[in-house]
């Protein structure tokens, strides 16, 4: 479907119905053609087509890593595309920075709302373009205009002079939208706006969006919840692996099965090593009724020695929090963690590490690495004390051991004295995983082990993870990429909204089923069969 039809003004969906063909009065405001954006080792956008009309709600659908966030960043001027064209109001444009995009009339509302908590509503709405006279801010005029805008959104009850930190998430979202309107935005990009909202607040959000579209403002709406897309959306564009796999489908009528199949089905090669024969193994990790308020509830799971257990779930399903709690980086409200029959002290990483646990956290740079320090010191960060004698570090032995691990991981460049910050993402990840190969790690927790990792390093990491399991190390893996969870794990747990909702051997479950379960409640309910 990336063919010539995509990007056409009135393309057809699978059933051959012309969608929005009658929409002559709604001009095309934004058209992207063959947009490409590469980062070192990763082709984040690989030919994206998108067409947005004035007054429509255009939904973007795609799995994590499909390129949605990169696309938003290109549109909002954060990134510049390598090739392809962005046509805005009929003219090709290239935004050099977010301000330029904003000026042109494209406003983006990110998931983490970027408001200044310690300023008032009005100050936030007009931040950077305050009405002024002689260099003084006209506070009265600013408040009045803020009230007008809030009124036009149906929210005159929000006081213009209230501090933003006193507002709930929903209120802040309204303020963000008011800010976009104060700048005369003609296109509003909303990244998972419903993720921070309660159910009735979502209804209100939709009401506001309808008011906006009635005024001819176009909205790009990103959400994982299919029922929302069906309710608010006009047309849908599906992204997969940085490509448009379907464009301008009808949001209301396209069957769920078709949307899901457009999102799955691979073009990226996932090269998994052959799966070994399953054998009966002794239990290594036992988690009982683990809970943390607002994050996850009553999670029980086990990992056997030599077993790879994968957890599939959306961001916000509590999967990363669960992993960090098992590791002791967060203290559970209730529940216990046992490693090889021994209970771990809750909330103590030291206790977990001494018992033989290791973790490669989700955010490599902020949670795992000392970027300015040499590779070997990063690799031995958990083991240098053990290699030391009488408190004196043994740098020579550290380097020798790191060299050995670096060689087995095919680290490039293979020089353990280089600062780790000079490595590519994939090689940095190898360093983080390599850290736990140095000690006698019995259980490895991996959170998004291949995020931002190029294909080659990915295959290498898969090989290493399987190799560890073959040596008897237990692995608990979290990934947003369903094929990765399926291809790597022996057993799969599906998490949704803080609970484990399904468990199955990975050979007995397929990608579509997992995706259904991951997004269920949204995907299944309210969707036409």
């Amino acid at each position: 479907m990336t063919g010539p039809g995509a990007g056409g003004a009135a393309s057809r969906n699978e059933k051959g119905e012309a969608v929005m063909a009658d929409d002559k009065d709604h001009e095309v405001v934004l058209r992207l053609t063959d947009l490409v954006k590469t980062f070192p080792g990763v082709r984040a956008l690989d030919g994206v087509q998108l067409e947005v009309r004035a007054g429509e709600v255009h939904c973007l659908l795609g799995q994590n890593g499909a390129g949605k966030s990169t696309l938003i960043k290109v549109l909002s001027g954060v990134h510049r595309p390598d090739s392809g064209t962005v046509e805005w109001l009929g003219e090709p444009v290239a935004f050099s920075n977010p301000q330029a995009a904003m000026k042109a009339g494209i406003a983006t509302i990110y998931q983490e709302l970027d408001l200044v908590d310690d300023l008032t509503v009005a100050e936030n709405v007009f931040l950077g373009h305050e009405p002024r006279r002689l260099g003084f801010i006209r506070r009265g005029a600013m408040a009045d205009r803020t009230r007008d805008i809030l009124g036009s959104l149906g929210h005159e009850e929000i006081p213009a002079r209230r501090m933003v930190h006193a507002l709930q998430a929903a209120g802040k979202q309204v303020v963000s939208m008011a800010r976009a309107l104060s700048q005369e935005a003609r296109l509003l990009i909303m990244d998972e706006p419903s993720a921070v909202l309660a159910h009735d607040e979502v209804e209100n959000l939709f009401r506001i969006i309808r008011r906006l579209t009635a005024r001819g403002i176009a909205v790009i709406y990103i959400s994982h919840r299919l029922d929302e897309i069906r309710e608010i959306g006009d047309r849908v564009t599906v992204l997969k692996d940085g490509r448009t796999t379907a464009s301008n489908l009808s949001a209301a009528q396209t069957p769920t099965s078709e949307l899901v199949s457009r999102m799955t089905g691979r073009t990226i090669e996932y090269v998994f090593p052959p799966r070994p024969e399953p054998v009966a193994r002794e239990e290594l990790l036992r988690v009982r009724d683990l809970s943390r308020a607002g994050e996850f509830r009553d999670v029980s799971l086990s990992v056997a020695a030599g077993e790879i257990v994968g957890i599939a779930g959306l961001v916000g399903s509590g999967r990363s929090e669960l992993l960090e709690t098992i590791y002791g980086a967060r203290r559970p409200d209730t529940g216990t963690v046992e490693l090889a029959g021994k209970a771990l002290r809750p909330g103590s990483v030291g206790s977990a590490v001494r018992a033989g646990m290791g973790m490669a956290p989700e955010e490599r740079k902020s949670q795992a690495l000392l970027l300015g320090e040499p590779i070997y010191r990063n690799m031995t960060l958990a083991t240098f004390t053990g290699l030391a004698r009488l408190g004196f570090t043994n740098a020579r032995r550290e380097r020798a051991e790191s060299d050995r691990i670096a060689g087995s991981l095919d680290l490039r460049p293979l020089d353990v004295r280089r600062p780790v910050g000079t490595l590519s993402g994939g090689n940095q990840q190898k360093v983080v995983v390599g850290r736990w190969l140095l000690g006698d790690t019995r259980l490895l927790l991996l959170d998004e082990p291949t995020r931002g990792v190029d294909v080659g390093a990915r295959a290498e990491l898969y090989r290493v993870i399987r190799g560890l399991a073959a040596e008897g190390v237990g692995v608990l893996l979290v990934s947003s990429e369903v094929p990765e969870v399926l291809g790597l794990s022996d057993r799969v747990l599906v998490m949704r909204e803080g609970r484990v909702v399904h468990e199955a051997p990975s050979t007995e479950i397929d990608e579509d089923t997992v995706l259904d379960l991951v997004m269920a409640g949204s995907l299944m309910e309210g969707a036409p069969a």
Binding site: A329, R354, L370, T385, T393
Partner: protein, 359 residues
């Protein structure tokens, strides 16, 4: 002209020096980072330039070799007390913190160790008291910051006020004369023509260098300051280590208190005034990153020496301390600017200038 001496030395930009290592360590003093060696060489250049300025402004004095030697010794002696405090401060800053209470700890340790009761236990008792008081107060800082989750700035600012208050209360705002001849003799004694205080600074600096570069304590310090979350997730007890860092700073203050008491043959609540500023400034000039994770003992000591040399330079030229303080302020700003622009870009800047000026 001062910096160009450093720029002549090519920054060791090749990231991978020797491929395989064990014996091939070319510069053992370099630790692992060639960048900091280059920065320290720049500081040596600055120091040399200051001496050259001294020689130009006072040629008669510098013609006299005996005077020069005496002057060098007096600079070193001037640097010794603050130098010891700066070593502790360097650890705290590398570990991601700051200690504003060092001057106050010096005063408290000095006063406590010179009360009549303490003096009755002799020199050993006095030294013991000074060091225990220093470590204890430092650990209180550490506990407040690690386990009380106070911001280091606030916790040590509070300690600055409180410790000086306690020192004034203990001394009754009087100057306490030390009548212990051993203590008083530390500052006046020379071994091989060099004052004992300079040896003490040397010993503390060497111990500090070893601690930072060759022990697990030092490695943890860099990890805790460079990325506390990564350190924590690697199983390092970040809180406990942070507490120890402030204890270490307190230990240095205790040592400095003995040195200062010896110099003045007395102690009082106002002693060690503004040492925190001198120590922080010296560490920053020495290339210690205020956000933590990077810094060298050699750099900090060079920072202290540069400050002492400037003081000396102004003294021999009969200039006011006011002018001296303004110059010091300027140097701090310049050091931070250099840090911000990154050393490499500064070298490029000077290299470019040199080319344009020669053509």
């Amino acid at each position: 002209m001062t910096l160009s001496e450093g720029t002549g030395l090519k920054a060791p930009a090749q990231p991978g020096p020797e491929p395989a290592l064990p014996g091939g360590r070319k510069r053992p003093w370099a630790g692992e980072s060639g960048e900091s060696v280059t920065r320290n060489l720049v500081l040596v250049g600055v120091l040399a330039a200051l001496i050259v300025i001294g020689a130009i402004t006072q040629p008669e004095l510098y013609g006299n070799s005996t005077w020069v030697w005496t002057n060098v010794l007096s600079i070193l002696q001037l640097a010794s007390v603050v130098g010891v405090v700066t070593v502790g401060m360097t650890f705290v800053i590398i570990g991601g913190g700051i200690d504003l209470s060092v001057g106050a700890i010096v005063a408290l340790a000095g006063v406590w160790s010179t009360t009549l009761a303490t003096q009755s236990y002799g020199a050993a008792g006095m030294i013991f008291t000074a060091i225990v008081v220093g470590v204890a107060v430092g650990l209180v800082n550490g506990v407040l910051i690690s386990y009380g989750r106070l911001v280091p700035f606030i916790a040590t600012l509070a300690m600055l006020v409180a410790a000086r208050g306690l020192a004034a209360a203990i001394s009754g705002k009087q100057t306490q004369i030390s009548s212990n001849t051993f203590i008083n003799g530390i500052a006046s004694t020379k071994i091989l023509g060099i004052p004992v205080l300079v040896y003490i600074l040397g010993a503390v600096a060497v111990a500090g260098w070893i601690l930072l570069n060759r022990t697990t304590f030092g490695r943890r310090t860099v990890a805790v300051g460079g990325n506390p979350e990564a350190a924590r997730l690697a199983g390092i007890n970040v809180k406990r280590h942070t507490m120890f860092l402030y204890g270490l700073s307190g230990l240095c203050c205790g040592i400095a208190a003995v040195m200062l008491t010896s110099q003045a043959t007395s102690a009082q609540a106002a002693m060690g005034n503004l040492y925190e500023l001198d120590a922080i400034a010296a560490a920053i000039i020495g290339g210690t990153l205020l956000s933590g994770g990077r810094g060298t003992i050699v750099g900090s000591i060079l920072g202290v020496l540069i400050f002492a040399t400037i003081t000396n330079l102004f003294a021999i030229n009969g200039l006011s301390t006011e002018a001296q303080n303004m110059v010091k302020g300027g140097i701090i700003v310049a050091a931070v600017l250099v840090q911000q622009f990154r050393f490499k870009s500064v070298t490029q800047f000077f290299a470019r200038n040199r080319i344009t000026s020669s053509t």
